[in-house]
């Protein structure tokens, strides 16, 4: 800021004049009023200006980032995310990775054992139905299998439990299990908590103390400890109950029998009453083992032994998946690689194509209708043009829902247009035109809604074309058509480009109008996305479809920026 214009004689502080005099006196670099080198001083001023500008922009940028960009980023992430399988079936995912579907056999007993334990916890936590729905997207039918398993899992291994209890009734008591694994410290803490709970009444919500395993017990009975940990986690976190109050699931008993049968010496690690109880069930455990998990699942439903189910599970056991994108492209991930889905299920390709073709049709009809009007507005005297402009701006400012409802009223079979045509005897009452709930309806209504977005950019470009060019062309002997086509039209092409991209971008993302006037054959990809979000709840697929649509729009946005420049977007004339 060096444009102070006061008289230098009356100023006592440093002035630009002093600086110039200083600079003349010294041989060094030119300095500013405060004695710094001018270059440095300018840089500093520039930097401060930049910082100030950024500080003004920052709040909004942050706001947009938080309320808009992050949500969209999260949605994009959802289109590849698949953690529900690894989260719900952590053990199964690991053990099934070695299984080879090509053998045509269901996986080994170990895989089934892991699956049984994962699924039991999932069923108790009510997670199994969500996992079922997720896998159902890939292979229909899985959902019901899982839902039914929710009931079956609590009974699995019950006969083993019964025979253990028959040999030693103490194994039905929750306390026996706590004595087996819990440290004395934990038992004391837990007892305190139980007292608290008794006093707490109905609204008591303090979780019980975290379970502490005795290390030697855990080492001696590893599988049992693992299964018991699941049970403990569930009762503490989901049920808010102490393990000391409930008998573990039958599957924990099965694990105990397995441990004892595999390593009878494990009882050495215990003493006193616990050891006696373990020894009491030792022969029963050896007799009952090995437990046939496969048969237990087959008893619930034969479909658990289907190779195709395990194939799907194996294919989608990764934490990230391309499955949703493949579905969005009418493809399917199978064990043999990516394949097209059967002909009759290919809907998304058709839908994307239809969205593009119809948007293109809408853009073209907007050009056809918008060009003459923009020309007229640009060439009329300003006063008349301003009046006619109102006819363009009024629809632009009118609510989208109002315009859509107007078209619904006009186009329906009992609507105004059909009534008029019937009254004029142009069509008979029986042959009313079907103008709505099909592609015609969508195209008519959307052309009307988007037409101002074509006229306004066209008008602002045409306004800049001097009318003398046309006159010059004509005076040089061009016919009206040549003058228009060779001189005027090429100059109006930027306006067509701007308007077309704007209309096309808006059209391919439209949801409301196709939903109301489009019926089933006139809907766009947006309607499918909305369907998956709110009705089918297949959010991953909705996100994948949205990502594809977004990519398409961003390419067009980039084009628009190249052709028109984002800064040059104008609104309302």
């Amino acid at each position: 800021m060096t444009d102070a214009a006061a008289s230098p004689d009356k100023i006592t502080g440093p002035t630009p004049d002093t600086a110039i005099r200083d600079a003349e006196r010294a041989d060094g670099p030119m300095v500013a009023a405060d004695g710094r080198p001018l270059k440095q001083s300018l840089n500093r001023a520039l930097r401060r200006q930049k910082m100030r500008a950024l500080a003004l922009i920052a709040p909004l940028l942050l706001f947009i980032l938080l309320t808009f960009l992050i949500p969209i980023g999260q949605m994009l992430f959802r289109s590849v995310e698949n953690q529900i399988v690894t989260d719900t079936l952590p053990r199964t995912v690991v053990s099934i990775s070695d299984w080879d579907a090509a053998g045509g056999e269901p996986p080994s007993q170990e895989v089934f054992a892991d699956f049984a334990r994962d699924l039991t916890l999932a069923a108790e936590q009510r997670m199994h139905t969500r996992l079922g729905s997720r896998l159902n997207y890939e292979q229909p039918g899985i959902s019901s299998l899982f839902r039914q398993a929710g009931r079956g899992m609590t009974d699995m291994g019950e006969e083993v439990m019964e025979s253990l209890v028959a040999a030693e009734p103490a194994w039905e008591e929750a306390q026996t299990w706590v004595d087996l694994f819990g440290t004395p410290d934990w038992q004391a803490e837990n007892a305190d908590w139980l007292v608290l709970k008794d006093e707490g009444g109905m609204r008591f919500s303090i979780p019980p103390p975290e379970f502490e395993f005795r290390p030697e017990a855990r080492e001696a009975l590893p599988r049992t400890a693992d299964a018991f940990a699941d049970f403990e986690l569930f009762s503490r976190v989901d049920d808010i109950e102490s393990v000391a109050e409930e008998t573990p699931w039958p599957l924990v008993h099965v694990s105990l029998a397995e441990d004892l049968a595999a390593n009878p010496g494990a009882v050495e690690a215990f003493d006193g009453e616990t050891r006696a109880r373990l020894e009491a069930v030792l022969p029963v455990a050896e007799a009952e083992m090995p437990f046939d998990y496969r048969a237990a699942f087959a008893e619930m439903d034969e479909d658990w032994l289907e190779v195709s189910f395990w194939e799907t599970l194996q294919t989608f056991s990764t934490p990230f998946t391309s499955g949703y994108f493949l579905t969005a492209a009418d493809r399917k991930l199978t064990a043999d690689g990516v394949q097209m889905v059967p002909e009759d299920q290919r809907i998304y390709g058709t839908l994307f194509l239809r969205t593009m073709v119809m948007s293109l049709g809408i853009t073209l009809s907007c050009i056809l209708l918008g060009y003459p009007v923009a020309w007229l507005l640009a060439n009329l005297p300003l006063r008349t043009a301003n009046v006619l402009m109102i006819l363009v701006l009024l629809p632009f400012w009118t609510s989208l829902l109002v315009r859509t409802s107007a078209w619904k009223v006009l186009l329906q079979q009992q609507g105004v247009i059909n009534d008029l045509l019937v009254w004029l005897n142009i069509i008979s009452d029986a042959n009313r035109l079907v103008l709505i709930n099909n592609q015609t309806g969508t195209i008519i209504a959307m052309t009307h809604i988007l037409l101002p977005f074509m006229i306004l950019p066209l008008y602002s470009v045409m306004k800049t074309i001097p009318p003398s060019y046309l006159r010059a062309a004509k005076s040089l002997g061009a016919t009206n058509w040549t003058a228009f086509w060779r001189v005027y039209f090429p100059q109006s092409v930027p306006g067509i480009g701007a308007g077309s991209i704007l209309v096309f971008i808006l059209a391919i993302g439209y949801y409301i109008t196709p939903e109301i006037v489009g019926g089933t054959r006139g809907v766009f990809i947006s309607n499918r996305i909305a369907f998956h979000i709110s009705t089918s709840l297949n959010w991953g697929l909705a996100a994948a479809l949205g990502t594809i649509l977004l990519a398409l729009v961003l390419v067009l946005y980039w084009l628009y920026d190249r052709i028109v420049g984002i800064d040059n977007v104008k609104l309302g004339g």
Binding site: M1, A4, L46, Q49, R52, A53, L54, L56, I57, P59, L60, L61, F63, I64, F68, P71, I72, Q74, M75, P372, I390, L393, L394, P395, W397, T398, S399, L400, L401, V402, R403, S405, K408, Q412, Q414, V416, L424, N425, I426, H448, N480, G509, Y511, I512, E515, I516, S526, I529, A530, I533, W539, A543, G546, L549, Y557, D561, I566, L571, G572, G573
Partner: protein, 419 residues
């Protein structure tokens, strides 16, 4: 080009030949309209013949052929001539089809009488230079006609719903009573329904709560950022602009999908950690989402206003001892205010008219007017929608006028500032 004062020069020289040009053309239009009108009465051919004969008659009348015999001087007094012709058509319509016939007859009469004078007086050549060939004249008028049809396409759907909203029946179309202009066919019941139905009132209230708050957020943040953006040295200006405009470009359904996941998590967090009620968080979610959608409009209009802003004014103000804040409110703000207000109106209408995002982000307690209309349209419940639509159209006419006035004022202000 309606019945403005005719150019006397036109009346004397260069008039088209009556029998060879004007009369056949007017008769041609009469034929078409007569056929349509006759069709409605079930007598298409008769209608066409009568229409053509009437058309030729009109052409001769407009040229003054009957002036000697009739009290109306058609050739010199165009207004009286047209009213006579309209009355004639109205009477024929009344005879054929009672009140609806009268309305149709008057409309056809207005068109026909205007057309007859337009052709006979040679007004159709007004817009083209005298040396234009007949082909050029034809094209010029055809072009105007096409443009007129497009303007009709733009405005007719909006205008049609206004009379329909006064329908006494719960139909989405004109009833015979309405066409007969019978007062019993009209009523305010749909408006009454709108103002008494609790669903609509809740929706109205929500719209009036959400839109202003969203507008305030968008205008405040947007104006400050636009001022920052209009400084001369902003690093990464293009990229920042692209980000700030993005809510306008990203399809609404994608914004809605993204916000659906994000805001439901945010709402739960607010409820759990800050102890807010479900209703309050619902409003906060929708307001924030709408503010984000309105911001591009504020940025665009305010930066456009700032392009013409004279920077030496702020320097002058600083030079006279005003601090940055004082300079902003006393010097800069009054000058860019029109842009800020029209940006605010855009933001307001964006929120007021928005349905996709609120459908996904909001709960039933945040149901807005467009949401309620959307439900009504999908399930086809009642023509109350049309009453609401009419109210909204009135509302948008007011908004349009405001924006237009502001734009003019802004141009005037900018024209006044030096540089």
């Amino acid at each position: 080009m309606t019945d403005a004062v005719t150019n006397p020069a036109n009346a004397t020289k260069g008039l088209p030949s009556l029998a060879g040009f004007s009369a056949p053309i007017v008769a041609g239009l009469g034929l078409i309209l007569g056929y349509l009108g006759g069709n409605a009465a079930g007598l298409g051919l008769v209608g066409a013949l009568v229409g053509a004969a009437l058309g030729a008659l009109l052409a001769y009348a407009a040229a003054g052929a009957f002036d000697a015999a009739s009290p109306v001087k058609f050739a010199s007094n165009r207004t009286a001539g047209r009213w006579t012709m309209i009355a004639l058509y109205g009477l024929i319509g009344l005879a054929l089809g009672l009140v609806p016939g009268l309305v149709a007859g008057v409309l056809i009469g207005a068109v026909m009488s205007w057309f007859a004078y337009w052709i006979v007086r040679g007004d159709y050549r007004k817009g083209v230079p005298p040396y234009a060939t007949p082909g050029q004249v034809l094209w010029h008028n055809a072009f105007l006609f096409i443009c007129g049809a497009i303007f009709f396409f733009l405005i007719a759907p909006i205008v049609t719903i206004i009379p329909l909203s006064f329908n006494a029946e719960a139909f989405f179309t004109f009833t015979p009573e309405m066409l007969a202009l019978d007062p019993a066919g009209y009523s305010l019941r749909h408006y009454e329904d709108f103002f008494t139905n609790s669903d609509w009132q809740l929706a109205m209230r929500n719209s009036l709560i959400i839109a202003p708050f969203a507008t305030i957020i968008a205008v405040t943040l947007g104006t400050v950022a636009a001022i920052g953006l209009s400084q001369s040295h902003v690093p990464g200006r293009q990229a920042i602009m692209a980000i700030l405009i993005s809510p306008m470009i990203v399809p609404l359904i994608i914004s809605a999908t993204g916000m659906f996941f994000f805001y439901s998590a945010m709402g739960n967090w607010l409820e759990a950690n800050l102890g807010m009620s479900r209703e309050l968080t619902g409003y906060i979610k929708v307001i924030l989402a709408h503010a984000a959608l309105g911001i591009p409009f504020v940025i665009i209009t305010v930066t456009a206003t700032l392009v013409g802003f004279d920077r030496s004014l702020t320097r002058a103000s600083a030079n006279l001892g005003a601090g940055p804040v004082r300079t902003f409110f006393k010097v800069q703000m009054p000058l860019i205010l029109p842009g800020v207000i029209s940006g605010g109106l855009f933001a307001f209408i964006t929120s007021f008219d928005e349905v996709v995002v609120v459908l996904f982000v909001g709960a039933a307690a945040q149901k807005t007017l467009p949401w309620q209309m959307f439900i009504g349209l999908r399930e086809q419940v009642s023509p109350t929608i049309l009453a609401v639509a009419t109210i909204l159209v009135t509302f948008s006419i007011i908004l349009l006028t405001t924006v237009e006035l502001l734009r003019r004022r802004s141009e005037r202000l900018r024209g006044m500032s030096p540089g």
